[in-house]
């Protein structure tokens, strides 16, 4: 519960204000004349603020009003929202005014084994009028407590036995607020009676007697004592005791003009029967939470936008770099292609040079033909020459015969000449490697020729094969 800055008691027209600063009183003010209606409530609140100089704008009001009624109803054994929904449904049964109602409840005494609740009903229009006036005065209504709720709390301070049921009556301005209950603060009945014992003790006594009778009838309990609380208790105590014919005692709680204001500020929130809804009470906190959450979300959104902007800038930068790199890559590829083409062209030219110039065979056949004129001995006659290129070598084939000679031993001459030719070819500039050096000697045709006839000269031929590397 938020702390009050201005605690007011409005007891059927009696207006008392107490200013507070951190729980301590700063000033009090009592309106001299009674408040007839709530038309000028905002002005009255502003004046109360001005007179009491509180620290803050939270307003709490303890109210006793003819339209503020109290009802004890039996409820199922449920709590929380279910109990609230149950009471909400039953409101129409005991509502005594037209229009919507603002209501609150607090636990009441169980009677005949049934749970009860004390329900406070107040016209919503009046509640909103008060709330609106508080806002107009620059304050915020955080508590609107019935006097019965405050008085029920005083039951805890009475010297009662454990199960003793007592009636506590308090003079609240020109009215009397009464509660009947036990010392745990739970009540079985509460009412606001017109008039007070200071002015009209007889009437009040009659109403109290009727109330006690009604309560005893409803709850089946017996009211053992009556306690009075107010400004003129001692003076009227004997008279009231006579009229009520019950034990009447003054409340041990000291009465001060600011009692209701002080209680309004100090009453525990759990059982205060505050007519201001929890939602309305928590509105500032909710608003603060909403503000903080919104601010945090806004900051987060701004951060996200910042991150997005950074990412976008980075992406653009990366794309620019990529475009630049693409250009460079294309340029380097062109250069590379040019170099590749240049090297390929050079290789092609080199290959052409190798094929055309370096692999050109030497004119070996012509040279060898010329050399044969020098290397062939005069005793030999070359009849055939074949030179053929095979791979990397030259295949040579020579054929010839012996020159006609008058020598007695033409074979010897032929052999020598052939040997000379072979030697010249092998050791000459061509380094011919002989693979065949054949000597063919044809015999005379007739072996039966006369013995004295001169021997026919055999035909001497040769075949020679070799290779020039």
């Amino acid at each position: 519960m938020e702390k009050l800055s201005l605690s007011i008691s409005c007891l059927n027209g009696e207006w008392t204000a107490l200013g507070l600063r951190k729980g301590a009183p700063t000033g009090s003010w009592q309106k001299p004349e009674p408040v007839e209606d709530f038309a000028g409530l905002s002005t009255l609140l502003e004046e109360s603020f001005q007179q009491t100089q509180p620290d803050g704008r939270n307003i709490g009001i303890v109210i006793a009003h003819p339209k503020l009624t109290n009802h004890v109803i039996d409820v199922p054994p449920v709590k929380g929202a279910k109990l609230s929904r149950y009471i909400e449904r039953r409101l129409q049964q005991f509502k005594t005014f037209d229009g919507d109602a603002t209501w609150s409840h607090q636990r009441a005494m169980s009677a005949k084994g049934v749970d009860n609740a004390l329900v406070h009903l107040f016209p919503k229009t009046i509640f909103e009028q008060i709330d609106s006036a508080c806002r107009e005065a620059g304050g915020r209504l955080v508590r609107l407590l019935p006097t019965t709720a405050v008085l029920a709390n005083q039951l805890k301070e009475l010297p009662l036995e454990k199960d003793e049921v007592a009636l506590l009556a308090a003079e609240t301005g020109p009215s009397t607020t009464i509660v009947i209950g036990r010392r745990d603060g739970r009540v079985c009945l509460s009412r606001i009676l017109r008039g007070g014992w200071s002015a009209n003790a007889d009437r009040v006594a009659v109403d109290i007697s009727r109330t006690i009778g009604f309560a005893e009838q409803q709850s089946g309990l017996t009211v053992n004592s009556v306690w009075l609380f107010g400004p003129n208790v001692q003076a009227r105590l004997a008279e009231m005791q006579t009229l009520l014919r019950l034990t009447v005692k003054p409340s041990p709680v000291e009465h001060t003009p600011l009692y209701w204001c002080v209680q309004g500020a100090q009453l525990a929130a759990r059982e205060d029967a505050n007519l201001v809804s929890v939602a309305a009470q928590e509105a500032p906190q909710r608003w603060r939470r909403l503000t903080v959450t919104s601010a945090a979300l806004l900051l987060f959104l701004l951060g996200a936008l910042g991150v997005a902007a950074y990412a976008e800038r980075q992406c653009r930068s990366d794309r620019r770099i990529i475009a630049s790199l693409d250009g460079e890559i294309a340029r380097w590829q062109r250069t590379k292609s040019e170099w590749q083409a240049r090297h390929a062209e050079a290789a092609r030219k080199k290959e052409l040079v190798r094929i055309v110039s370096e692999e050109e065979p030497l004119s070996v056949p012509a040279w060898f033909l010329g050399y044969l004129g020098e290397a062939t001995p005069p005793d030999l006659l070359l009849t055939q020459l074949e030179i053929q290129r095979t791979n990397q070598a030259w295949a040579i084939r020579l054929a010839g015969t012996a020159q006609p000679t008058t020598n007695d031993s033409p074979q010897t001459v032929f052999r020598e000449a052939l040997t000379t030719l072979g030697t010249n070819l092998a050791k000459g500039p061509f380094h011919l490697t002989l693979v065949r050096n054949g000597l063919d000697e044809e015999k005379p045709a007739s072996p039966r020729a006369p013995a004295k006839a001169p021997a026919p000269t055999p035909t001497l031929t040769f075949n020679m094969e070799g290779v020039i590397q």
Binding site: T293, V307, A308, K350, I355, V356, L385, Q388
Partner: protein, 206 residues
């Protein structure tokens, strides 16, 4: 004590609607912000990876080009170019020039008192290994037979054959003598046959 007229009561739906809308809006903003951050940050790695890859590609290309530049020897290239031109000069410029040479060489053979027959192969094609260089090697067969009485020349057919072979070796264009077959008798060369290869540039049809 009197009261003012009742104020209009706010609709219950509005009481619940606005907080609901506010929460929904906050949820949308929160989720949207998270999604925006996630989306924004997820865009960066692929682009960064692309930049790295491109940069690596560029660096590799630059290194390759540098290697090409380092391997290039301008002086050697100049020498190669001159050798290439020289090699090119050794090739017949197509079949027309080959035919002209054939005619000229046959004339030379005749002048050296040989009955000269020089036949070039028809429609020679480039060998596969020479295709790249557009080289065509044309086989040719040369048949020589000394003319009767030597057409008044005093030197022997052998000497004249040597002269002709030497002139073949001194031909400006490349003509390979790959086979030579000579038959002779007691006088001198009786006939000769030579297999030649004429190297020419392939004429490329435009």
């Amino acid at each position: 004590m009197s009261t003012t007229p009742a104020l209009p009561r706010p609709a219950a739906s509005q009481t619940f609607l606005w907080p609901l809308l506010a929460r929904a809006l906050m949820l949308v903003v929160g989720v949207g912000s998270v999604a925006l951050v996630w989306w924004s940050l997820n865009r960066l790695p692929p682009l960064a990876r692309q930049v790295r890859d491109k940069d690596l590609t560029r660096a590799n290309l630059a290194a390759e080009v540098q290697q090409f530049e380092m391997n290039w020897n301008a002086e050697a290239a100049q020498i190669l170019e001159s050798r290439y031109q020289a090699a090119h000069e050794r090739l017949f410029d197509g079949p027309e020039e080959s035919q002209r040479w054939r005619t000229a060489f046959a004339g030379m053979g005749n002048a050296l008192a040989f009955d000269t027959e020089l036949q070039l192969a028809i429609n020679p094609s480039a060998a596969p290994e020479h295709k790249l260089h557009q080289l065509v090697v044309t086989p040719a067969t040369l048949r020589l037979q000394p003319a009767a009485e030597g057409k008044g020349l005093t030197n022997s057919p052998y000497e004249r054959l040597l002269t002709l072979a030497a002139s073949l070796a001194q031909t400006k264009r490349r003509v390979d003598l790959v086979e030579l077959s000579v038959q002779s008798d007691s006088n001198s060369v009786a006939q000769a046959r030579a297999e030649l290869r004429l190297w020419s540039r392939e004429k490329v049809n435009p």
